[in-house]
């Protein structure tokens, strides 16, 4: 969902870049409390893994592919603030080094993927986690459902940008329907990868998983 230059006009791109920059600034402050000697390297690894898996486009329907976005995965592993930063670093490197995603559209992409997908995904994760039994596998399932919905959420962000400042005049409703449908399909792949990746980290180092640690500390507080 890396937006090329030209889809969205410059004033709209600029406005979203300002909002995206504010979100990143808030995330730098917010990530401080969740990052220490142990979790900072995990945050780096999460960004690295997401970069790698974003290269792996999988086929979703005839003539269409998708790849992991990684927003929900990152939010569960390292917390939403650090996740916003991780996805943003990946998007900046992809645009600068690999010509993937337009430079003038960077703010649009950061808004959709680093902010909407991360925070919406994290919200879904918290809600699902709440109603699930307090087990490790519940964390993976909640992360997968968050992943499934985070992709159409990011797609909806693009539709909003299209509605405000598209350089084309095709119907917004048509774009909305097509974007949500296609990205719900991509979301299924997103959910599967997220389920297994979160499961693998939980199995080897559950103490590092932000979305799991929080649960443990909440339980401890209640027990006191």
């Amino acid at each position: 969902m890396h937006i090329p230059d030209g889809f969205i006009d410059l004033p709209t791109s600029g406005a979203f870049a300002v909002v995206a920059a504010a979100g990143v600034a808030i995330s730098i402050r917010g990530a401080k409390s969740s990052l220490d000697e142990k979790t900072a390297p995990l945050a780096g690894l999460t960004a690295t893994f997401i970069f790698a898996v974003q290269m792996l486009n999988f086929p979703v329907a005839a003539g269409t592919s998708g790849h992991l976005l990684g927003a929900a995965l990152a939010a569960v592993l390292i917390g939403p603030y650090a996740a916003t930063l991780a996805i943003t670093i990946v998007l900046i490197l992809q645009a600068l080094l690999f010509a993937d995603g337009g430079l003038s559209a960077l703010g649009l992409s950061v808004f959709n993927m680093s902010i909407i997908a991360v925070w919406f995904g994290y919200g879904v994760f918290l809600l699902v986690k709440k109603i699930m039994p307090k087990k490790k596998v519940s964390i993976s399932i909640a992360a997968a459902i968050a992943a499934l919905l985070s992709v159409p959420a990011a797609a909806a962000g693009f539709v909003l940008q299209y509605a405000i400042g598209a350089n084309a005049t095709f119907s917004v409703t048509a774009v909305l329907t097509a974007m949500l449908g296609t990205h719900l399909l991509i979301g299924i792949g997103e959910a599967l990868i997220t389920f297994f990746a979160v499961g693998a980290v939980l199995a080897s180092r559950s103490d590092l998983v932000y979305g799991y640690k929080n649960q443990v500390s909440q339980l401890e507080i209640r027990a006191n």
Binding site: I3, K32, F51, M55, N57, H67, F98, F170
Partner: protein, 100 residues
């Protein structure tokens, strides 16, 4: 699992995925590109500013072998992302013992 073992395994897995598996990735247009093509606004896309870059489109310029070109671009990307992101996360982390 030790933290070091865990981090190294994750990094090696990332190198393998970006360096080897990436060659087998689908080359069909992604969701947004497909929708843009179907509806018609793909024509408003402009060529990327860096489209002539050394690593543009996940290939190393001048390397003819597609497997090698994609793989090397992936490895460079993994190392760059790993170094830059880990460095930044260390910079903003909570310092032990607070402010000196």
């Amino acid at each position: 699992m030790k933290q070091k073992t865990f981090l190294i395994s994750g990094f090696i897995a990332s190198l393998f995925l970006a360096g080897v598996v990436s060659f087998y990735a689908s080359s069909s247009p992604d969701g947004l590109e497909k929708v843009a093509g179907d509806i018609g606004f793909i024509d408003s896309a402009k060529e990327h500013t860096n489209s002539d870059g050394v690593l543009a489109d996940y290939g190393v310029k001048g390397v003819e072998n597609a497997r090698l070109s994609t793989g090397a671009a992936g490895v460079i990307g993994v190392i760059a992302t790993g170094a830059i992101s880990t460095g930044l996360f260390f910079l903003i982390r909570r310092k032990p013992g607070g402010i000196k």
